[in-house]
Symmetry: C4
Subunit: 263 residues, 4 copies
C-alpha cells in the first residue's frame, strides 16, 4: 500500500479497498452540517449544547488531522497546499485555532466549506457526469435565459411600481422593493408579502405571469435538449451505424479496416 492508496481510500475512489472509511468520512461531514444547524436552535439544554460543542471540536480535530495527512502524503506538497482542494481542506479545519477566541461564532461556519468535499464523491458517479456534461453544454443558453429573465423581472418591477406605488406606498415604496415582488412572482413563489391591488397592476401582473410561464419553461427545455443530445444521440448513432455496418458487411463483403470513429 502506497501513499496514493491511502488518499484513495479516504476519498472512496480506491478500486479494491473497502469503502467504509470514505462513507464514515462523508457521514462525519453530514453530521457536522446537522450539528451546525442544531446548535442555532434557541433553548437547547446545556448538556446538548456542550455535547454539540465537543462534537464540533472533535470534527475539527479530524479535519485538521486529515489536512496534515494529505499534506504529508502528497507527492508535491506545495501543489496540494495551493490547489483548490488543499485550500478547502485547510480553511475548513482553520476554525480549530479560534475555539477560544471571540471570533469563534463567526468562524466556525467555515467548516461548512467541507460540504464541497461531498461533491468530490459524485465525480465518479456516472449519472452526475452526464448531468454535468449536459449542463456545461447549455451554459450559453442558460446565460441567455438568465439575461432575458433579468430583463423581464426588471420591466415587471418598474411596471408594478408605476401602477401600484400610489395605491400602496408602503408595500411598493420604491423600485428595488418592486423588484423583490417581481422576483417572488416571476419564480411563482408568491409569499404574499406584496401583491397588486389596483386593476392596472393586476392586469399587468397577469400579462407578466403568463409570459413568465413561457420563460421559465425555457431552462427545462434547454436542459432536456442537452441531456437528450448527450444521451440519446450517441447511442442512437452508434446503434444505427452498427446495424448498417453489419448489414453491409454481410451483403457487400468484409470490411476489415475499422473506420475512423468520429469524435
Amino acid at each position: 500500500m502506497n501513499r496514493t492508496d491511502i488518499i484513495d481510500i479516504i476519498d472512496g475512489t480506491h478500486p479494491t479497498a473497502p469503502r467504509w472509511p470514505a462513507y464514515a468520512h462523508q457521514g462525519l461531514i453530514m453530521l457536522s452540517a446537522v450539528a451546525i444547524a442544531v446548535e442555532t436552535e434557541p433553548g437547547l439544554p446545556p448538556l446538548v449544547r456542550h455535547a454539540l460543542f465537543a462534537f464540533e471540536i472533535f470534527v475539527l480535530g479530524i479535519f485538521a488531522a486529515e489536512y496534515l495527512l494529505r499534506l504529508w502524503l502528497a507527492k508535491n506538497r506545495w501543489r496540494y497546499a495551493t490547489s483548490f482542494w488543499g485550500i478547502v481542506d485547510l480553511v475548513s479545519a482553520l476554525p480549530l485555532f479560534f475555539v477560544l477566541s471571540s471570533s469563534w461564532a463567526a468562524l466556525r461556519t467555515l467548516r461548512l466549506l467541507r460540504l464541497v468535499r461531498m461533491l468530490k464523491l459524485l465525480h465518479t458517479n456516472r449519472a452526475m457526469l452526464r448531468l454535468q456534461k449536459a449542463l456545461e453544454q447549455t451554459r450559453g443558453e442558460l446565460a441567455v435565459f438568465a439575461f432575458l429573465a433579468a430583463i423581464i423581472v426588471y420591466i415587471a418591477g418598474v411596471g408594478i411600481y408605476t401602477f401600484e406605488h400610489e395605491a400602496q406606498p408602503e408595500v411598493f415604496s420604491s423600485i428595488p422593493d418592486s423588484l423583490w415582488w417581481a422576483v417572488v412572482s416571476f419564480t411563482t413563489v408568491g409569499y404574499g408579502d406584496s401583491y397588486p391591488i389596483t386593476w392596472e397592476g393586476r392586469i399587468f401582473t397577469a400579462a407578466i405571469l403568463f409570459v413568465g410561464l413561457g420563460v421559465i419553461a425555457v431552462p427545462t427545455a434547454i436542459i432536456t435538449t442537452a441531456l437528450i443530445n448527450a444521451d440519446l444521440r450517441e447511442d442512437l448513432e452508434d446503434e444505427i451505424e452498427g446495424d448498417i455496418r453489419r448489414e453491409l458487411k454481410k451483403d457487400l463483403g468484409p470490411l476489415t479496416r475499422k473506420p475512423k470513429r468520429r469524435k
Copy 2:
C-alpha cells in the same frame, strides 16, 4: 375454475372472467379511504358517525375475509403469509380485532395500507409500465438531483439565517427554522409564513430562486429523456432498420437469414 382463478378475479388480472369483482374491490378500498377522511370532520351528526362506524366494521370484515380466502387458496400458505402482499393484507385487516379497545382510534388507520393494493391494479397497465421503466432507469440521476437539491437547500437555509436572524429573530430563529423556509421557497410553494425583509436576504433569495429555477428543471429533463429513450428510440431504430433492410433487400438481393436482434 381452480384456486388461482379466484385470486385473479379478485385482482382483476383474469384473462376471461368479468372484471366487476375487481372493480367492486377497488371501489371498496377507495370508499374506505373517503370514509376515514370524513370521520375526522368535527360536528358530524351522530347518525352519520354511526353509519361510518358500521361501514368501517363492514370493510374490515371484508378485508379479514379476503385475507383468510387468499391464505386458504394460496399454493404455499407460509410463503403468502410472509410475502409483501400477505403482510399488507393482514395488517390492513388487523384493526378489526381492536374495534372495542381504546387503541381503536390509532389503529384503524392501518386500513389505509390497503391503498397499496390499488397499485397492484396498475401493474397490468401499459402506460404505468412505461412510466415505471423510465423512472427506474433514472434512479441514479434523480438521486444525484436530490443530493444537489439538498445541498442547495442547506446552503440557502444557512445563508438566510446569517442574513435575516438579526432582523427577524422570531421568524428565522435558528438554522432548522431557516431550512424550513428554504424548502418552502426552493419548491416555489411560498406559504408566506416566513420571507426575508433585509436587502442582503432578498438579494440572496433572488439568487437562490434563480438557481432553483434551473435545478428544479433537472428532474423534468431527466424523466423526459428517460421516457423518450424508452419510447422513441426503440421504435425509431426498428423502423429505420426495417426501412434500410427492405431497401437493401430490394436492390442487393434477398437476405434470407434474419440478422441477430440486438438486446
Copy 3:
C-alpha cells in the same frame, strides 16, 4: 351559394369567402364573456348596468337567430337539433326566454356555454391539431399520473393531519381540511392559509414536496415525449429514408418502383 356555404361562413371554415363574419361572431362571444364578468362588479353606475343588460339581450337575440338559421339550413334538422353543437347552440340561447323571470340571474350564465363554440374555430388550426393528437396519445399516461398524484395527495393529507391536528386544531381540523392543504402544497400554489408548524409536520412536508417535484415533472415529460413522437419522428424518418434512398439511387441504379409507404 348554397346552404352549407352560409354555415361555413359563420364558422369561418369556408375556403374562399371573407372571414370577417366568423371573426365578428367570435368577437361577440368574447365580448359577451367580458360583459358577464363586468356585470358582477358592485357599484356600477345604473347607466352602465342598463347598457350591459341591453347588450346581453342583444347577444342572446343573435344567438337565438343563429340557432334558428342553423336549424333551417341544416340538411337533417333533427340530427342537428340532437347533435352536441345543436344542443350547445340551443342552451346558450335559452336564457332569452327567462329575461323577465326571477330565475334570470341564475340562467344567464348558460350563455357561457357559447365559449365552447370558440373551440370549434381551433379545429382547423394546425398547431391545435398536433397538440390534441399528442394529448390524446398520452391519455393513458396522464390518467396514471392523475392516479399517482391523487394517492400522494391523500397520503400527504392523512399524514399532515396526524402530525399537525393537535398543534393546530383550528387549521388542520379534519382530514378533508388537510387534503385541501395537500392539494395547495403539492401543486406548489401555497396560498398560506394553512402550513405545518410542528417539526414532524415540516419534515413530512419537505419529503412530500421533494417527491412532488419529481411527480409534477411527469406530465411535462409525458406531453413532451408525445409531441416529439408526433412531430419529430415522422419528419426524421422521412428525411433519413429520403436521403438514403437518394444516395442508393445514385450509386446502385434507378429504383423505379416507389416502395410501399408505411402507415
Copy 4:
C-alpha cells in the same frame, strides 16, 4: 476606418476592433437602469440623490451624443431616423430636454427604452439565435396554449365566483376579482390574498389546479420539442448521412459529385 466601422464598434459587432467600447456602452445602460431603481428609494441622503441626478444627466448626454453621432454617420439619415432603432435612440435621449420642466419625473423613465438596445448585443449570440428560432417556430402552438389557458382561467374565475361569492362577498366580490384569483392560482403563484373556503370552492379549485398542472406543462413541451427539432435533427441527419456516405464511398467507389443539400 470608415463610418460603418464606428457604429460596429459601438454595437460590438466589429470583427477585429476591441470590444470594450461596446461593453462600456452596455455597462452604462445597465448602470442607468440601476440608478433609475435606486432613485425611487425613499429616505436617500441628499448627497446620493444629487449624485444620481448628475449621473442621470450624464447618461442622457451620452445617449443624445450617440444619437447625433449615429445620425451623422448613417448612410441614409432619414432611413435611420425613422427606423426602429433610430426611434428607440431618439426617445431614450429625449428626457434630456425636459430636465428642468415639471414633467421630468414622468419622462425620465423613457430612458428605460435603452434596455431594448441590450437585446441587440444578443443578436450575434449563437445560443440566443437557436432559442429565438425555436420560439418562432412554436408561435402557433404557444398562441393556442395562451388561448386554452385564457379559457381555463375564465372558467375558473366564473366558477369560483359562483361557489365563493356568498361565503366571501368581500374577497370574491365580482367576476373580475375572481379572475385575478384564477390567474394567481393557475400560474401557481398563490399570493394568499384570496382563496376558497367553502367545500364546493375547494373541490372546484383542486380540479382546476390539477388540470392546470397538465396545461402549464404544455409550453415546456412545445419549447422543448422545438429546441430538439432545431438542434438535434439537423446534427443527427448530417452525421448519419455523413456516416452512410463515408461507408458507401469506401465500399462502392468514389462519389465525386456532392449531392444537393436539402434545405
